[in-house]
Symmetry: C2
DNA sequence: TTGGACACTAAACACTGTTTAGTATATTTG
DNA sequence: CAAATATACTAAACAGTGTTTAGTGTCCAA
């Protein structure tokens, strides 16, 4: 009988409805101004209803985070096109930074905000970032194999590159860097200079 | 007359009392489990009293953050002793990482948590990080002048080094890095390898 | 048609930061 | 010294949060 299937479909539709409202609220207004009650308002259900589809707020945020990583994968797929590994690395680095610039709120949720990480009780079970990280590590291995970078270990190389980019981005997002004041150039320029010089320096 | 002075002293004492309770709560339990009401409880005053000494929670967190930066400065003073600029840089990098390991909650407030940054309405007026940053930039200039590193611009160099270290630290603090799983070594080892290789690579 | 599963919600609970109105004490003034 | 004023403090309320409970009405299966 198709009733069970329909019910399942309706359940999935409702989760979609909730997560869509959450994403929209998140992207437009950010983490601080998003709440379960406002989402309930937006989809015209009571707050309690959300708890029939999500165990708690963290679980909902985990789903929003997953959508963020899907968007990042798509962004990479479009922007990273070069064959040469080092050129590919440069493309990937800039694609990462551009993703942040276009989706700062999502970036925040994906890499900085704590809440979605509480959804998976086992810390080792966080899978959302794996695709992007694996792609980077594989690329760094290619760069090393072709002696295009000064790194020797692909794991170290990938967390170095990622750490560097994430460091600049999160200092920017949290207003801890004021390159504008320090160098006379504007903030974005200062960050771009640092990224360009970093890419030059790691080059073999 | 000494009454005005005594009142001023009492006002300062009360602020100390509040900020001390806040720091203790913060260091022991972290941002999430700290609240104005609990601080009031701890110092045996009503919550409203805190608002006679601090405009809002952000302003109090700003003071706690300042104490964090004082602690970092003291940590640097003790740990950074070498004369040679490049060796000094290595010491400074490890001192920074060790400060994070010994004070993860404070690090969080100093470099990641948003709230204290709302206390200063003008974004350009945040002075807390200046001392530490200036010391790093000056050190990078020395390294560049003595041709000890591959950087050419001290501003770019300092935000690169800082960005890199902060990137690794904040990915670790927010559980976005799982080097243990990826490399077989434990988490701390993976981070240490990346830092060592980074320091090696930027060396001229 | 009856019985039970299901979808949903109003209201409550336990928190949060913050403000208001009022009290009791300390200080200044007449 | 007494009256007036300024100060220090707080109880209670307000507006918001995430989450749970108890109950209602609808839909489906027997």
């Amino acid at each position: 009988m198709g009733i069970a299937e329909r019910k399942e479909r309706e359940k999935a539709d409702m989760r979609r409805k909730i997560v869509d409202a959450a994403i929209q609220m998140f992207v437009e207004e950010g983490y601080d101004k998003m709440s379960i009650r406002k989402i309930a308002d937006k989809i015209e259900y009571s707050p309690a209803t959300i708890y029939l589809y999500y165990k708690d707020k963290d679980e909902l945020l985990y789903d929003v985070q997953s959508e963020g990583f899907d968007a990042l994968a798509e962004h990479f797929r479009k922007a990273v096109t070069e064959k040469d590994p080092y050129r590919r690395l440069k493309q990937m680095a800039w694609a990462y930074v551009n993703f942040y610039r276009e989706n700062p709120q999502l970036y925040d949720l994906m890499f900085i905000i704590n809440d979605p990480m509480n959804a998976e009780e086992d810390e080792e079970d966080w899978k959302n970032g794996d695709n992007a990280y694996d792609a980077l590590q594989q690329l760094m291995q290619e760069c090393i194999d072709n002696k295009l970078v000064r790194f020797k270990n692909a794991v170290v190389a990938s967390i170095s590159v990622w750490g560097f980019l994430h460091g600049l981005i999160s200092l920017d997002l949290r207003c801890r860097i004021k390159v504008c004041k320090l160098s006379g150039s504007d903030l974005e320029e200062g960050m771009e200079d640092a990224i360009n010089e970093y890419l030059r320096i790691i080059k073999a």
